[in-house]
């Protein structure tokens, strides 16, 4: 991909990617930095860009990149973002904060990339199960299964 193509892609989709990263990381500088990683990954998937509108792909890559950054930050005890607040709320507002914290710990420490992505799309972003399934290219029943498993892990942690 030539420099001008990167520039064109950034001009159109860069702000969306940066907004996404900024919301997740709550830091504009970190968002710009993460956006560079997003575009590097997009360059590798450039063939896909020719056949389909790239916004969904870019959004997914941006979410994954930020989740990985957040995971690293959490390991160092520093994660805090709008997304985690939304996750905490949407996980289950009626349950106590201990469960919420356990849930987030579980989510960001032991779950695989796709499950984390699913949880963010569904709980934090407001995607329906069907929309989440379309975003991650899985069946709705597969999404349900993952979310059930995640929830049971959270509940098990509360019992400990």
């Amino acid at each position: 991909m030539k420099t001008t193509e990167i520039e064109d892609l950034y001009r159109t989709y860069g702000p969306m990617v940066i907004r996404r990263c900024r919301k997740m990381l709550r830091n504009e500088e970190a968002a710009f930095d993460a956006a560079q990683d997003v575009f590097i990954q997009v360059l590798r998937k450039r063939q896909h860009l020719n056949t389909k509108g790239p916004s969904s792909l870019l959004y997914t890559i941006a979410t994954n990149v930020c989740l990985n950054i957040m995971r690293s930050q959490r390991r160092r005890g520093g994660m805090h973002s709008e997304v985690t607040e939304e996750l905490a709320y949407d996980w289950d507002p009626s349950e106590d904060v201990v469960l919420t914290n356990h849930f987030l710990d579980t989510l960001f420490s032991t779950e695989d990339t796709k499950t984390r992505l699913i949880a963010v799309y569904h709980y934090a972003d407001g995607f329906t199960l069907e929309e989440t399934a379309a975003m991650v290219d899985m069946s709705v029943s597969g999404i349900r299964k993952r979310l059930r498993k995640l929830r049971s892990k959270g509940l098990a942690l509360r019992e400990e």
Binding site: K2, D37, Q47, Y59, D112, D125, G126, T128, A134
Partner: protein
Amino acid sequence: MKKSEHASHKIPDLLKEQQILHEVDTQIWKTRDITEIDLEERNAILSDNERILKQVPPEEFSKRVIEKSGDGNDSSRKGARLFTFRRFPVLVTAAACTAIAGLLLFGPLQQSPPVQTAQDTIRLKGAELRLQIFRQTADEESEALSPGSTVHPGDQLQIAYRSMGPQYGLIASVDGSGHVSLHYPASIFDDPQLEIGSQQFLPYAFRLDSAPSHEQFLMIVSDEPFSVQETLRWIQENLNDDNTLPEETDPPFADGILRFMTQKERP
């Protein structure tokens, strides 16, 4: 309120962005009644677009991306998570420079084949297929791992294969967290065609992360082309509770699968 109900009433940011981009993905939003984005919100996004592009202009951003990718003028390099397998001091230096998505990516370095030691390998029936995992040693040589070998976070590994029969193949690994990493081909959009007859080292080596328990390497082969994306999904959906692909599970669309398990020692 149930969470699914809550989710369906919230308008995802992506939908708003796609409305502004005139790129609403009907495959994703087919079950939703789409209402036009609020004018005030639209203007706020457009204003933010302008501010972002002013803050970091396209030329500057493009330059940063190319520099960070380590690609010079050609940023189409393949191989997420991977680095070239050559001289490890160089790699370690490069490792400090770039981290992408929590995985390490290194600039393209000149390749030289690793020193080969005793070839403990896994073979498919008929000895037509071989998968080897090499590890960098402290003295900058490489050692061939055996199935069941213990590996450690930070180990630098290089994969090689040799196919005397199947024309197409995918190499992936699954870690103890259930994360599936694609090693060959370089991306889900690439053709999984194998080089036939001689030992092939993948162009990039990679560094193991701190995921627990194990790293199970898988090579799935076929005489016919197949979808890399579908195959990765098949792997993900068929993992055991312990995040390994069970012995008795073979992909219906492929001719065979090799499994190479390594045990991960805690750091």
